[in-house]
């Protein structure tokens, strides 16, 4: 193992829930803040983070999430069946957004803009774009292009690849 500092990262965002999208965005922003080159690759539902109509209405997944607790993250485990109650996801999302705002973590749309301004590049996965029948107009203006997996690997030469 060498102690070479990391110079370049490629971060794959594959999930479309709020808690699925933020880790990748925070890591990309953090990379740029350390002077590390960063490329983001959005695939499957992770693509919602850069789709104009979807990016600011992402939700916390409350179904199938045994980690959820009430009233807050360190509270009592919430029976998983309650996650399916209508409005639960909206409520958990509101709570999480409130906490993130306190830490000055921006909403997804603003965060994507900030990360792009920071010099990170954003790409959409071609297979997903085709599967979801998306066109350029569907994406936020920060989107740098649509890539095949092959293009992505090529662009990632010399990168650490992080899958989220």
């Amino acid at each position: 193992m060498s102690d070479e500092p990391i110079k370049k990262v490629s971060i794959i965002v594959s999930k479309g829930s709020l808690e699925g999208v933020y880790p990748g965005l925070i890591m990309a922003n953090g990379a740029r803040m350390e002077g590390i080159e960063a490329n983001l690759f959005f695939t499957f539902f992770g693509l919602h983070a850069v789709v104009k109509k979807k990016m600011d209405s992402l939700k916390v997944a409350t179904v199938g999430n045994p980690a959820l607790c009430v009233p807050d993250a360190m509270g009592f485990p919430m029976p998983t069946i309650l996650g399916a109650i209508p409005g639960m996801s909206a409520f958990a999302t509101m709570m999480m957004k409130k906490e993130m705002d306190k830490l000055d973590i921006p909403p997804v749309g603003e965060f994507v803009e900030m990360i792009s301004d920071a010099g990170a590049k954003m790409y959409a996965c071609k297979a997903t774009v085709d599967m979801f029948h998306l066109s350029e107009d569907d994406f936020c203006p920060q989107m740098d292009g649509v890539l095949t997996v092959g293009d992505f690997y090529e662009m990632s030469a010399g990168s650490q690849i992080i899958f989220t």
Binding site: I26, M33, E34, G35, L103, D104, P106, M114, D117, G119
Partner: protein, 104 residues
């Protein structure tokens, strides 16, 4: 505690070059630290340093990227071009404050 000869005086710094005693900070020290980083201070740079100073006085923390943008009125792109390769860390070091403790 290591010390470093900056702008002709001996300054207390930690192992990452952040000042440990802000009372030793002045504009000459800032200019010298910046020049070590390859940055020549201009009015635009001072505006960032002054905002960090004012915000630190209020919040006791180095402001994050969003706060520098929204409250300080300095666009993110500009911040990256003024302090290339790690803007907040560099600006905090030049401003004589501790290493930023926030992830965003």
């Amino acid at each position: 505690m290591p010390t470093k000869e900056i702008a002709g005086t001996s300054i207390d710094v930690n192992e990452e070059g952040f000042l440990t005693d802000r009372s030793q900070w002045n504009k000459e020290v800032a200019t010298a630290i910046a020049s070590d980083e390859g940055i020549e201070m201009t009015d635009a740079h001072w505006k960032v340093i002054e905002f960090i100073e004012a915000d630190f006085a209020e919040k006791q923390a180095v402001p994050g990227m969003r706060r520098i943008n929204k409250v300080g009125g300095i666009p993110t792109k500009e911040l990256y071009s003024l302090f290339p390769g790690g803007p907040i860390k560099k600006a905090a070091r030049i401003a004589g404050f501790p290493k930023p403790a926030s992830c965003v």
